[in-house]
Symmetry: C2
């Protein structure tokens, strides 16, 4: 944990009537090597960090982040994070929204999300 | 932290007269995205986990691990871990030995080494 006063990880209640999550690994099948691999890039860390600290709604579409990247590239990164078990995604009509699997990751890898939340986003 | 009684991370005193470390990033230059990337494979996690929990000497050559892999492949993995800042390596004549940078990693990424120590090495 850093000694700076970063915002807390935001946990929001699950609203009723959500679409079913897209396919994802069960919590007991999460693998540390896979999760670390999925997180090992600045864009991936930025996605997860912003969802942790800045979420305004239960889940967010990739447009919310304002990344200056092609949508196909973003879709790939979000999918990789979902398939590793870091993000949960739901399809709302044409829009796919993401949240972080905070409870599942805290249960399996305690402290990992704090490291991501404390990540210093400055360019290397 | 798992609820199982895994061994503690072993910290051994630095013996006098060590060779200088091979080139490595300074503690303040460690980057989470780089460290996570370096750790994101079962062999890499196994190397670090065994050094953390099973070390018998201050540092160990790659032969100590008994991995059934070509030496060139192992050399590559150890070097990647050193260049990311996870391992410190020293050259003893013809032999290169490794230890985990426990203090540096705990200072920058608290809890990360516990996740590695708690890693469940069963095949995915």
């Amino acid at each position: 944990m850093s000694s700076t006063t970063r915002p807390a990880i935001r946990v929001l209640p699950e609203p009723p009537g959500l679409p079913a999550p897209l396919p994802e690994p069960a919590v007991e099948d999460l693998r540390l090597e896979t999760v670390l691999g999925a997180l090992s890039g600045p864009l991936r860390l930025s996605i997860v960090r912003r969802l942790l600290l800045e979420r305004e709604e239960f889940d967010h579409p990739c447009g919310w982040f304002g990344f200056d990247r092609p949508k196909s590239s973003l879709t790939h990164h979000f999918k990789a994070l979902r398939e590793a078990g870091v993000l949960r995604q739901r399809q709302y009509g044409l829009e796919r929204r993401s949240e972080v699997r905070v409870d599942d990751l805290n249960a399996r890898f305690p402290g990992l999300l704090d490291l991501v939340a404390d990540w210093d986003e400055r360019p290397a």
